[in-house]
């Protein structure tokens, strides 16, 4: 697929030595996906390297959440290839996918904690399902992870009894309970006040430092993205506008990247005839049909 004229290719200069396949935990090549007739991702190509924090950014409808769902192997693409931890997800058997999933952790935007279980039970669930550990060991491990996310002592509460920030922390604890190789975070700071959001950013950095995992974060919060990202992927209408470090993105000459950074709306010139047609449901100059 032809590259967008405005697309800046991944930063390659000083990072070229690291740019070898063994260091890549996620490799996406020319990924195309559709919802019905609508093309959502239009030839996305990106790599995520071991132990890095990759932030995927973009405006609403840019396809970042869809890309994340594909990276989490929740949806299958129309064309292109995607390798997670060296495994082509299209070619995996159900068992291979099952084993791969145990190496992934996800903190969803809403937390996605099971409302019928306590915080502790939520966090222990993957251990309960995938290991033969005895209940006491599971409880100890859950408390350790709660300690990591500063929620020690909250294991007996129900998710409904937690604040928004605490739910996200608990979701992080559940996501890291199996010590995943890759942690995906969907809008971690969405809906939180700046102080709590900043604390969550620190938590992401701490988790990477403590556990050495690769972290992929989808967000539209610029401040948060610049604070935690090693590299950023900027998406726009299903295309990758650019991939680069925080500095490279800040210095980008790409108009659409700058619009996003400066929170400028896209220049959308309105054709008065077309606008009138949309309002009245009539095609100007054509037949009046519903």
């Amino acid at each position: 697929m032809a590259e967008d004229k405005n697309t800046e290719q991944p930063a390659q200069g000083p990072d070229k030595a690291q740019d070898k396949a063994p260091g890549k935990v996620i490799e996406v090549d020319n990924l195309v996906t559709h919802y019905g007739e609508r093309e959502i991702l239009k030839g996305v190509t990106l790599d995520v390297r071991e132990n890095e924090i990759m932030v995927i950014m973009g405006g609403s409808g840019s396809g970042k959440s869809t890309l994340l769902r594909h990276l989490m192997a929740l949806e299958m693409h129309t064309s292109g290839t995607m390798k997670i931890l060296g495994q082509d997800i299209e070619k995996l058997t159900a068992m291979e996918m099952f084993h791969l999933r145990k190496k992934l952790g996800v903190a969803f935007q809403s937390g996605a904690l099971f409302s019928s279980m306590t915080v502790g039970e939520n966090i222990m669930l993957p251990l309960h399902e995938h290991t033969d550990l005895d209940p006491t060991t599971r409880e100890i491990m859950a408390r350790m992870k709660l300690e990591v996310v500063s929620l020690a002592g909250f294991e007996n509460l129900m998710p409904a009894e937690l604040s928004g920030g605490m739910v996200k922390r608990a979701a992080f604890a559940r996501a890291i309970i199996m010590d995943p190789k890759i942690l995906f975070c969907d809008e971690p700071s969405a809906g939180l006040d700046p102080v709590v959001a900043s604390a969550l950013d620190d938590l992401i950095l701490d988790m990477r430092a403590a556990m050495g995992m690769t972290i992929v974060v989808v967000t539209h919060e610029l401040e948060s993205a610049f604070k935690i990202a090693d590299r950023l992927t900027i998406l726009d209408k299903g295309h990758i506008l650019m991939i680069g470090t925080v500095d490279e993105v800040r210095k980008s000459k790409n108009e659409r990247v700058q619009n996003l950074l400066n929170r400028m709306p896209e220049d959308d010139t309105i054709d008065p005839d077309e606008y009138l047609g949309r309002l009245t449901g009539e095609e100007i100059g054509g037949d009046a049909t519903l």
Partner: protein
């Protein structure tokens, strides 16, 4: 040539009917796949170290079965008394009210117990299942299960299906007993027949086949309720309103399916 209004109307009508038909076939297919997948996990799950948790099954059995005992007992008793009242009233025309036990025994065991139990469980637990799965879907909890490597069918559907398969027939047996007992009490008061004589007559009338007829139906109803609840819950879109719609749809579909299946079952079983 431009289509006339009539042609447009017809085209829209057939388009709509066609879409409903295709959607219906798709839902039936989804339900079938769900049942097959459930039994797959039940059998293969332990070998893959992904067993269906007994705790979840017992929790569902408590919710679907044990907690429904009071309302099932109450409704079954009311149906039993109602059948006795109507039976005596009708047979009195012929002076044959003493034969009311035949009608009561057959009606309760073969027809009303499984039907009322099925409808009650559909309204109580089928709707609950649809609402739970729908809410989990919009809260991304189903996605969370998938990315944790926990198969949602094994984790959510199999315990509910198994609990239904055990508890709906159990509730039907309870309903049989309560219906017959309540009817017997009314018959005793109205016609002066002793309970011992009434139950002797019931035992003479009913065969094991009659009891199995009712229980067999209840097993089919259990599968229908579980599958319809899950398929509707899994199809939820559009937030809380979507959950409400799916829940209502699940109850209407389950009750309709129960009544139609009951008719077909009765026809086939009496040939």
């Amino acid at each position: 040539m431009a289509p006339t209004d009539n042609q447009n109307w017809l085209a829209l009508f057939f388009d709509k009917v066609g879409r409903y038909f295709v959607a219906g076939i798709e839902e039936i297919g989804n339900g079938g796949v769900l049942v097959v997948e459930s039994f797959f996990w039940l059998i293969v799950g332990p070998r893959r170290k992904q067993p269906v948790r007994l705790g979840s099954i017992f929790a569902q059995m408590m919710e679907i079965g044990i907690q429904a005992i009071p309302i099932v007992a109450l409704l079954a008793s009311a149906i039993g008394v109602m059948l006795a009242i109507q039976g005596i009233h009708t047979l009195r025309i012929f002076g044959a009210e003493s034969r009311v036990t035949i009608g009561i025994a057959f009606s309760v065991v073969r027809e009303f117990s499984p039907l009322i139990t099925g409808i009650l469980v559909a309204g109580r637990s089928g709707s609950g299942l649809a609402a739970r799965i729908g809410t989990m879907k919009i809260n991304q909890e189903i996605d969370a299960l998938k990315v944790m490597g926990i198969n949602p069918t094994r984790f959510l559907v199999v315990p509910a299906l198994l609990a239904m398969l055990v508890m709906v027939p159990m509730l039907t047996i309870l309903s049989d007993l309560m219906g017959l007992l309540a009817a017997g009490l009314y018959v005793g008061i109205d016609l002066g027949i002793s309970m011992a004589a009434y139950f002797d007559e019931v035992r003479d009338i009913l065969t094991v086949d009659d009891v199995w007829h009712g229980i067999g139906k209840s097993v089919i109803f259990a599968i229908l309720i579980a599958v319809i609840g899950v398929v509707n819950g899994a199809s939820v879109t559009g937030g809380a309103e979507g959950v409400g719609k799916a829940t209502t749809r699940s109850v209407v579909q389950a009750i309709s399916a129960i009544i139609v299946t009951d008719m077909i079952f009765a026809f086939v079983a009496t040939r």
